[in-house]
């Protein structure tokens, strides 16, 4: 797949990455063929008691992304993403969305085999 989603604190490549997945402020989705990007707002996740990670996974699947670049993913979100073959790169933080994109393009990012955070965060 040619689209990647990056958890972000804002809509642009200059914004900081949000290390949270389910409760990220939003997702910058980049089409690797055209290099065009768009932003998916995720503010409503803040009021969810649980299941924010699952909802985020649904948003990303709907956007047609095949990759997620983020900080931490919980077990339910990981299960949901894996169910449709979306690849997860985790442990990214304190960098901008653009920097994350550059790392992805240069290769060498590791695909996560398991979630790296407990439920509910």
């Amino acid at each position: 797949m040619s689209k990647i989603a990056i958890t972000s604190e804002g809509p642009s490549l200059e914004d900081q990455m949000d290390s949270r997945f389910g409760r990220a402020a939003g997702f910058v989705v980049i089409d690797m063929d055209t290099m065009s990007s768009h932003y998916i707002e995720n503010g409503q996740s803040q009021i969810m008691a649980q299941g924010a990670g699952i909802q985020a996974a649904q948003l990303i699947a709907k956007a047609g992304a095949g990759w997620v670049l983020t900080g931490y993913v919980g077990p339910k979100a990981f299960q949901a993403l894996s169910a449709v073959g979306i690849k997860v790169v985790q442990d990214l933080r304190d960098i901008t969305v653009g920097e994350a994109l550059e790392r992805f393009k240069s290769g060498g990012l590791k695909i996560a085999q398991a979630p790296n955070r407990e439920s509910g965060k």
Binding site: I47, A49, E118, G120, K121
Partner: protein, 292 residues
């Protein structure tokens, strides 16, 4: 960063009084009261609010009378018995409504709205022992687990921003939703128990809960001299499970005396109680830095 949670299973074992004293003894930390249902820590720390935020969580059904045809389908489908006939139509009992939206989805006349629930308020405050993050869930509200998460997140951000390396949390009694939420991200859970049948029983359940989530666990026995036999049983339980026993505190009215003055026990002249407590805190610090 280290996150330490003081819990108890059973209420009234002295958890909050001890957390208050630890807040006094600890340096460079953010204090966090995760008992959002009946918070008490502020009574010892006398905070001044620096920031107040509203907490919204979930949704709640509301029937618009002018659109309702009184078919009763909503009431028959609600598994929570939250929709009742009230003589001149149907109304929603907010205390029973789970916000599942089933009634709204099936209502043939679209007469049911789902406004967001305003269910509490949280604060970042200053205290004589450092910053405190705390909250209050409105009476009867659910989703305390989510509010606990919000507080933990805020406390972490605050600690990071101020270069502090510890978050010290006062937990809620029980083993349900808010307690499960308070465990997430915790490096060390310290259970305060008492040598009573209830104290031991509830300690075992909260220990199992921490085991379930693989959280390091240690124990303080408060009022240990109230029943030496039961204290011995708790100690044996700790040995058998390899839980460090951090302190054995005597039954001492100093706890109430301090509370009445709006102080923590370690601010009062030293007694056996506070000496043992200080020893316990040193062990907590060592343990917290050694666990994963």
């Amino acid at each position: 960063m280290r996150e330490i949670l003081i819990i108890s299973g059973k209420g009234g074992t002295g958890k909050t009084s001890l957390t208050g004293a630890f807040a006094h003894l600890a340096v460079n930390k953010v204090i966090c009261d995760l008992d959002v249902d009946a918070p008490d820590l502020h009574l010892l720390l006398c905070p001044s609010f620096d920031q107040t935020e509203e907490f919204y969580s979930g949704f709640e059904a509301r029937i618009m009378e002018e659109l309702c045809t009184q078919c009763g389908l909503c009431a028959s489908m609600c598994r929570f018995e939250a929709i009742r006939e009230n003589g001149h139509g149907f109304s929603v009992d907010p205390l029973r409504c789970e916000g599942c939206k089933v009634c709204g989805a099936f209502c043939p006349s679209g007469a049911i709205l789902f406004p967001q629930k305003h269910s509490g308020r949280w604060h970042v405050s200053s205290t004589r022992f450092g910053p405190l993050v705390h909250a209050r869930l409105f009476p009867g509200e659910a989703n305390s687990g989510r509010l606990v998460m919000v507080l933990k997140q805020k406390a972490r951000e605050l600690a990071k921003a101020r270069g502090m390396d510890m978050v010290l949390c006062d937990g809620a009694p029980g083993i349900g939703c808010p307690v499960i939420s308070s465990l997430s991200g915790t490096n060390l859970a310290v259970a305060v128990t008492e040598p009573t049948p209830s104290g031991r029983h509830d300690l075992e359940r909260v220990a199992d809960l921490c085991g379930h989530f693989q959280i390091a666990f240690a124990v303080i026995i408060n009022k240990h001299d109230l029943n030496p036999d039961e204290s011995a049983r708790i100690e044996a339980f700790c040995r058998q499970r390899s839980y460090p026993l951090l302190a054995r505190l005597p039954h001492d009215q100093i706890v109430t005396t301090a509370m009445l003055q709006g102080k923590v026990v370690t601010e009062l002249p030293e007694t056996d109680f506070s000496r043992e407590l200080k020893k316990g805190w040193t062990m907590i610090r060592e343990l917290a830095s050694s666990v994963r």
